[in-house]
């Protein structure tokens, strides 16, 4: 038998023995119960988890709604102020126009009441 054949036989023998030595074995009787108990202990914790995101999303929604509301109110106030400013400007222009008309009228009356310059008087 060659050296290679001997090595192959030896390897085969070690492999057979390894298979025998590494036969699968069962865990203790309470193994499955232990796993299920750990899962049951974990479930209430994980059951609480969805509530946290729900609360967080409610809070986010409330915050977003508040911001939108605040922006809306600010925008309305700004619009009202702009409208009031424009109205005041219109009234001022109207008042100035009326005042101008009055002044114009007064000026014309004053000019009409003044006697025209007399040429004979100027000669005397």
């Amino acid at each position: 038998m060659s050296h290679e054949d001997t090595n192959r036989d030896d390897n085969h023998d070690v492999e057979q023995r390894l298979r025998a030595a590494l036969r699968p074995v069962d865990p203790g009787a309470g193994f499955v119960g232990g796993v299920m108990a750990r899962i049951a202990a974990e479930r209430p914790r994980s059951a609480r988890l969805p509530r946290a995101p729900a609360a967080a999303s409610w809070l986010t929604f409330a915050l977003a709604a508040s911001i939108v509301l605040a922006l809306l109110v600010t925008h309305q106030q700004q619009a009202r102020r702009t409208e009031q400013g424009l109205e005041a400007r219109r009234q001022l222009i109207q008042a100035l126009r009326v005042a101008g008309d009055k002044l114009d009228l007064a000026s014309r009356i004053v000019n009409a009441q003044q006697p025209p310059p007399n040429s004979s008087d100027s000669g005397a």
């Binding site: 070690v14 390894l18 590494l22 865990p27 499955v32 299920m36 899962i39 049951a40 974990e42």
Partner: protein, 201 residues
Amino acid sequence: MSGDEACTSRALLARATAGDTAAFGALVRMHQRSVYSLALRMLSDRHQAEDLAQDVFLQLYRSLAALESEDHLSFWLRRVTMHRAIDRLRRERRYAAMPLADAEIVASDSADADPILERRLRGLLEELAPAARAVIVLRYQEDLDPVEIGRTLKMSVNTVKSHLKRSLALLRAALAVPGSGAGGGSPTPPRPLPSGHRLLI
């Protein structure tokens, strides 16, 4: 796994994924032997092996939605078990301090060769580095080929083959198996490991 078992396992996986804990319990019963044995052969301690196997099934419970098939489940269980075991061994470095004395004493006292040799082999396995031990356990306990071992351990096929070759040579040398005595009836006691020799690969 037979066709019926595969169907049952597939149905159980589907039910467990849908939240049926009884189906998950049945899945645990179906795979506990393999997962626990892998953990035991890696850690060489029943309590630690049970603890690790329970951790693996707990992780499985959380990851059920990601599993696509029964084959995927078996692959996933093996991979997670071996990686957790290797991590634990590397953290604790138990393999470097594991003495072989017990196995050698029993071997020299008994004439019944097979159980003694099996025990001695398991003792020698404890001396292997975690990755090399994982390769041997997957090859000879789970009967996986080098490609499957490589996928499970995220290792190249060449590395797997190299681990197998070197580990077998070292184990063969340590056991001093006679070439013609493969039948198990040989009373030849195993050669003791030279002092300070560690099969760390």
